[in-house]
Symmetry: D3
Subunit: 135 residues, 6 copies
């Protein structure tokens, strides 16, 4: 009898897709415009889904204020108005593709929410491209 | 080989989150602005997902006209332009959180649709907050 | 050479359309479901458009942080999670139709922004119904 | 540890719902306006979800350029600005309901993507009606 | 002191862009895929803006129920689930481009609303292409 | 009797708000997070509105294919997947605020479209912040 609660959030960031083990030619071939040397950027839209039992006293699965505070403290403050490659530990050595960003966000939030809740993360890189973890 | 058919609907309602077993202080602490004594309100957006086999004669899982008529008769007419706490039986003694409203809608529709179809309900309380049942 | 800057905001409120000079029958006839005695509610989406010259030092017409702080202090804190009829001075004796709410918001913001900027307000009562002032 | 990647696409097409084994009366009764003799049409919005492991060298599940090229070549070029009943092989003898179109698109793409990826297709016939396969 | 009230509506229709005075080659060159012999179609989204003074007794510029009934009777019932070229008088001899459809809708509604209100019509042919009259 | 035609487009770019005549402290105070040394980024959504008379032979104000080709060649190819500060001539010495980007886009397109059409540009920096020129 689990119910899912979804909260949307967002952050704006610069990034560059690049594999340092590859030549410039191969990076261009694989990542195309996303490999632009001076970075480009996105408005990332985030949907965090938390599933669990309804607490009979509150009628809620999780306090949405607590959830949105958690997302702000752990995700928005970390990534908003940042260069993901240069300004963050998480992507210093990890290519900031939408897939990798989504898994990183999942792992950060999972570590805070614990085993009580099921977690699912959807991340829009643009309105036409988005990713989900777990699939 | 099941296909899902999703129909959107909506209703506008007033509500107040409140637990009568708690003090005013505790209600304020837990529910915050949502505990406002004189109610506040939302445009609830509803997505009803019905899954089943495609009927080979019609090419349809369920007649969308029948489904939208059912949602209108059972959900919109019951909750639209109402005060959920004061004007409905369902929430006379049940806190009208998004989670509880979603489960109530699921149960009403499940009772009408029967075992032939799988049912899933998503309810948007605001464009940034929504819930789903089953999770 | 004026440029317009638009900031979106939102508030959730309960209201009832009612003219105390009219009989119950006439109120029902004119306002229909919107006259529901125990109120109903909406997610109001607001677009505040401020037009002026670009400041050559900042490249901005108005600091968006200042504008969103102003909207929060003057509009969201005043109307969010409120019953417009019962909890606000502005609609104690003014019918809270979308048209009247829009003009009230325009007048509040115009009084704060002064003559330096042109102002235009759009207010969505639902995704399918909205109003603008000035027309 | 699978991640899902979703790409949106769209096509505009005319269609008519009709079962040639039925009388005109029965077609009118079952399909209503959708049985209009001279066709009507829609902006179909498509979401193709492809799930798999992240390639550690690219950080990607699938190259989005490859996926959007595949959708263009196999779906958009086939159905965009077409009359589904008259201009396509797929619906020459299959009623072009949203359900059937969705399964046809799934089968076309599955045949190209193979077993490496899980596939899921969502098709919007209008902003308020959409279908998914598998359910 | 005029306020504008906007109501959204929609209709689904098939159409073909074609100038019978031109050769097939010229029609193909000018209209491209939109000239498809067997038609294609769209979900047309319509925004009807009506501007006027607020009635002090109702707090409304126009009764939204009356406006949406008018749009349904005059526009949706006329064009929804139709082939614009074959099933309507308006486009029997007028090319059903978005521009022409928009002006036709304006003229129909203007004839019903009269001089009391200013009228403006926006018509979306797709989410990325739309037109407005008057400009 | 002018009709307006609007075409949406988009580009993803990195930028930094900064006035080189000011101290770091003043830049931080005025531009806040937008002054991040290593840039951040956005999905810019663009609406280009072109107004003119309907050509009686085509039923169109402007060929949408020509308009979208023009926007691609002059705006998307110039700014998409770029760092506006480092990779473009236009913002080498002009602060890339939404206001300035909007006026630059207007001037580029106006130079190509000429006096035959009226032009208006709307630019979304985020879904909640956008600008228009002329106001």
């Amino acid at each position: 009898m689990k119910v899912a609660v979804i909260r949307k959030a967002h952050f704006n960031a610069a990034h560059r897709l690049h594999n340092p083990k590859w030549s410039d030619e191969k990076n261009d071939k694989i990542f195309g415009l996303c490999n632009n040397y001076n970075y480009h950027g996105h408005n990332y839209e985030l949907e965090v889904k938390v599933s669990g039992e309804i607490d009979p006293d509150t009628g809620m699965v999780i306090d949405l204020k607590d959830l949105s505070d958690l997302i702000k403290a752990e995700i928005e403050d970390r990534f908003d108005h940042k260069n993901l490659n240069l300004d963050t530990e998480e992507f210093a050595n990890l290519n900031p593709t939408a897939e990798n960003i989504c898994v990183v966000i999942y792992n950060i939030l999972k570590g805070k929410l614990g085993e009580k809740y099921d977690l699912h993360v959807r991340l829009y890189e643009t309105p036409r491209n988005f990713v989900e973890f777990p699939a």
